[in-house]
Amino acid sequence: MMLAATVTGLKLKNPMMLAAGIMGTTGGSLKRAAQAGAGAVVTKSIGIAPKAGHSNPSMVDVDCGYLNAMGLPNPSYKNFQEEIDKAKESEVPVIASIFGGSADEFSEIAGALCADAFELNVSCPHARGYGAEIGTDPKLVEEITHAVKSAVNAPVWVKLTPNVTDIKSIGLAAQRGGADAVVAINTVRGMAIDIESGYPILGNKFGGISGRAIKPVAIKCVYDLYEALDIPVIGVGGISDWKDAVEFIMAGARAVQIGSAVGENIDIFSDISSCMDAFLTEKEWTLDDIYGMAHEV
């Protein structure tokens, strides 16, 4: 019970969620993450029409983390409610991640889906016309957030890209648009080249870095957003054990999401929960005590 948390009205048994785009295309896989102990699960980003994504290689291990350019493959919202419903059988909150090319597309998708919350992906670094091309423009972010808020009753979170000069200004735009929380960060733009041939490895040539390498980037983003915003910040980027999760909460994250590390250990949610619980008990701290701690010392 020590880890129970409430985030934008959603009651979580623990603050460790499955991040968007990780085992998130099927109801069965979302349910498995929930059974592995996730406090909530976020779906793959879902768009207007079925999308195959970029050609392979779409993900590669680059020693310090991973590089991916999936290209937002998804079956479209028209084929997705049944997956959400299946994920709901796990009895943890299911958050629908959605993306679009305009405010109208975002609200069409959100309005048609029934989920516990919506996460607006305005931050994918490698999908032309979507994602980060929108997420670097404060006006568009505000407009889209506002449009989705008007279309649904559920909480709306906005997922931010770190690939900007000042992430606070984008966070503030989301807040003005009525967002209930921001999620930071999506992947950091990156590239890898095969030295045997000179070919960029990814089918899309470039992509986004996730995993260990981006944790310090993400911690700083969360720290800055916590100072600048009144709404909660959800932290994501490079978490691979309980210490990373504690660090995010101390930086100012109300909850965290875990992505890449699920590949090696799907039980990471329950592993982190039990270690975090033991740590708090030993320190005689509560989750509230460590929330934003780095700002108070």
Binding site: G21, I22, M23, G24, T25, T26, G28, S29, K31, R32, K44, P50, K51, A52, G53, S55, N56, P57, S58, M59, V60, D61, V62, Y66, N68, M70, P73, N74, P75, S76, N79, A192, D194, E196, S197, Y199, I201, G203, G259, S260, V262, G263, E264, I266
Partner: protein, 248 residues
Amino acid sequence: MKPVNAVITKVVDETPTIRTFFFDTSFELIPGQFVMVWIRGVDEIPMALPYENAITVQKVGPATSALFELGECDSIGIRGPFGNGFDITKGRILLVAGGVGAAPLAPLAEKAGSAGVEVTTLLGARTNDEILFRERFEAAGDVRIATDDGSEGKHGYVTQLIEDSKKYSQIYCCGPENMMKKVLDMVAPSKAQFSLHRYIKCGIGICGACCVDGLRVCKDGPVFSGEVLKKTEFGVYRRNECGERVRF
């Protein structure tokens, strides 16, 4: 790992539609594991390892056709081996192979055969010149053949060769999913292992594209026990590259 550069050293025509590409790099493998094969500038696709230093490819579409354009001294990128592979048991085993599904089973037959396991193989193909790795299976034990057109062996599906499945301690199966589903319905699920084909993107258990009811084919599989598959969508539908359900 980033893709490892593998230079093709030899190309063998196995059948009119299937070729084996040997390369200069060897992998330590458990039969049933697979690699991601990068044809630079084209695509990256999953392939079983029928030898520790080769892939055996059936030409079916753009990426496999691009592979068929390659010859000695050309190179490809390889990530892997990935996945679990077959769980090798003792006693008396039955292998059921459909088409290019013989690729991951041939090294299993050899490994089991040389460990003193009694191996019987049922080999199915569309026609007699499409039968793959017959000699390798014959060297490991008994072989029975079925062809769709009756050009050799039983006229019909390889599943029609299954009789008295109870006498085997374990059954290993790889082929088209419809065929594997038939096998699953005919044998004791807890004593059978199936190597699945799903659309694979990341290959490392992260993206979820290949999930079958929450099981990651690339990481938890590609080999699953019949007992596990019974409770899933196996044989009912697969997913295309967008994640839409496609019924069999």
